[in-house]
């Protein structure tokens, strides 16, 4: 059985940053991802990152994976495995099972950093399983990664930043966004994004929800309706909209199956997307061999993911006795960077959520 000091599961921004920190410490590191190429959701992020240069401000998301891989591939103590799925983690023995296209591999890892990201939430409405009902991330992937138009007329459900941004990206790709519906009374995302949509002539219907999708084998329309303060549909307010894509941007939820498997203490934190592992300020879970990084610990964004990944990497390496140069200063800087990112208007809820999920001072 292979043995490794630290295994990092998921090569999105968090996993890449974690693996780099582990590699730099000298620990033998394994980074796996089930996709054939690394990057996670970075591969479709066409916008330029903001923040500090430590988080690649000014660089487009799609360019970032190569920067990490350029350094990781030169480290002899780091092994990269793509197209390999982490099947299970057995906490009692510290064994990780991997599936590599028909080959079953067992790895004994002293520490595991789980950076598995998050997945789209589903919304329950009639015919929500019709072809043409896609998650917003899926629409983004189709457009930005594969250059394929998802359809011609889109109804967007959800006015958080993802709903607003993907709507704008659809317009950039010459796809018509018929309307955006939001069940709450106010727009969820930054108004600067909403303004761009309004200027492009997209009606943003707040206090509206989708009641059903229309179509036999594929989406050909949708029925939307107004909702009152208790989310009940106002009778008589139903309207039919002709569309061939219904895009659901109703939030993401962390992919934390492995943390449950590992017996980690889990907490339900709506602000972070659902169930997340309880963790200390250094991203260690209740099981001392397990760390969490990125969206798997709470849905935020790529910049936060890179920071929490680096924190997890440094902490995991230190916990094994590896010398990490200037660790205290780096951790301090990283936590300050994280606080800065979370200090915007939408950051308040995230901060409150993170507080709920964090165990301070080792008080497990």
């Amino acid at each position: 059985m292979r043995e490794v000091d630290i295994a990092v599961i998921g090569a999105g921004p968090a996993g890449l940053a974690a693996a780099l920190a582990c590699g730099e410490s000298g620990a033998t590191t394994l980074l796996v991802d089930y996709m054939d190429a690394p990057g996670g959701q970075l591969i479709k992020q066409t916008h330029k990152f903001f923040g500090s240069e430590r988080q690649f401000a000014g660089t487009r998301g799609i360019q970032i994976p190569d920067i990490f891989i350029g350094r990781l591939s030169k480290m002899p103590n780091v092994q990269l495995m793509w197209g390999v799925n982490a099947s299970g983690y057995y906490a009692d023995s510290g064994v990780l099972t991997l599936e590599d296209g028909g080959k079953f591999i067992k790895v004994k890892a002293k520490r595991v950093i789980i950076a598995t990201g998050a997945a789209e939430k589903a919304l329950a409405f009639e015919n929500n399983d019709l072809p043409g009902v896609y998650g917003a991330g899926a629409v983004q992937t189709l457009m930005n990664v594969h250059g394929v138009k998802p359809g011609d007329r889109v109804l967007m459900v959800g006015s958080g930043n993802i709903g607003l941004i993907v709507s704008y990206q659809l317009i950039q790709a010459h796809v018509e966004v018929i309307a955006l519906v939001e069940a709450a009374r106010c727009i969820g995302g930054y108004l600067v994004h909403a303004a761009k949509l309004r200027r492009a002539g997209v009606p943003i219907l707040t206090s509206h929800t989708i009641v059903r999708a229309l179509g036999e084998e594929t989406v050909r329309g949708a029925v939307v309706a107004q909702v009152d303060q208790s989310w009940q549909v106002k009778p008589g307010s139903e309207r039919e909209i002709a569309c061939d894509v219904i895009c659901l941007a109703v939030g993401l939820t962390p992919l934390v199956d492995m943390m449950w498997q590992a017996g980690c203490e889990m907490r339900y934190v709506p602000a972070l997307g659902g169930h997340v592992p309880a963790r200390d300020e250094n991203m260690r879970a209740s099981n001392p061999a397990v760390y969490v990084a990125g969206d798997a610990g709470g849905v935020e964004e790529a910049s936060s993911a890179m920071i929490s990944g680096e924190i997890a990497g440094i902490s995991a390496a230190k916990s094994l006795g590896f010398e990490v140069q200037g660790a205290e200063a780096r951790l301090g800087q990283l936590k300050a960077d994280l606080a800065a990112i979370r200090s915007g208007p939408t950051g308040e809820k995230i901060c409150a959520g993170v507080k709920c999920a964090t165990v301070c001072g080792g008080e497990w």
């Binding site: 089930y34 996709m35 054939d36 190429a37 990057g39 591969i43 066409t46 487009r60 799609i62 360019q63 994976p65 190569d66 997945a119 789209e120 589903a122 399983d129 019709l130 072809p131 043409g132 009902v133 896609y134 998650g135 991330g137 899926a138 992937t141 189709l142 457009m143 930005n144 990664v145 594969h146 250059g147 394929v148 138009k149 998802p150 950039q172 790709a173 010459h174 036999e216 084998e217 594929t218 992919l255």
Partner: protein, 132 residues
Amino acid sequence: MSVENPLYSHFAQGREDSGRPLGRLRPNAVRLKDHPILEFPAGREVEFTFDGKEIKGIEGEPIAAALHAAGVTVLRHSPALGRARGFFCAIGACSSCLMTVDGVPNVRVCTEPLKQGMVVETQEGHGHLPID
């Protein structure tokens, strides 16, 4: 300024020619051409079949993307209720997109890379396991 998508970079290593421009698809092609930021690399065009029909796609792209570009959005019919399903999450998490590829059922086509000559079929229900 155009940016090459890193997802395709490791497929570029196998290319024999410098990359033919995207073949002439249907007149109302759904492949994006004039994107303000992204340039979609002209990967190697390959042929595959879908329910017996020959379709062209780009080597390495997810089968679901190639099908979508060809106007195919119904990927299977569900086991119990026979409901049409397409893809939903595009990251291999939700299992909506299962199809039979080269005789093997339950392949997640939203992440499975397209190869020359693949035989892709709409999956009915759970599909059938190939018996060797």
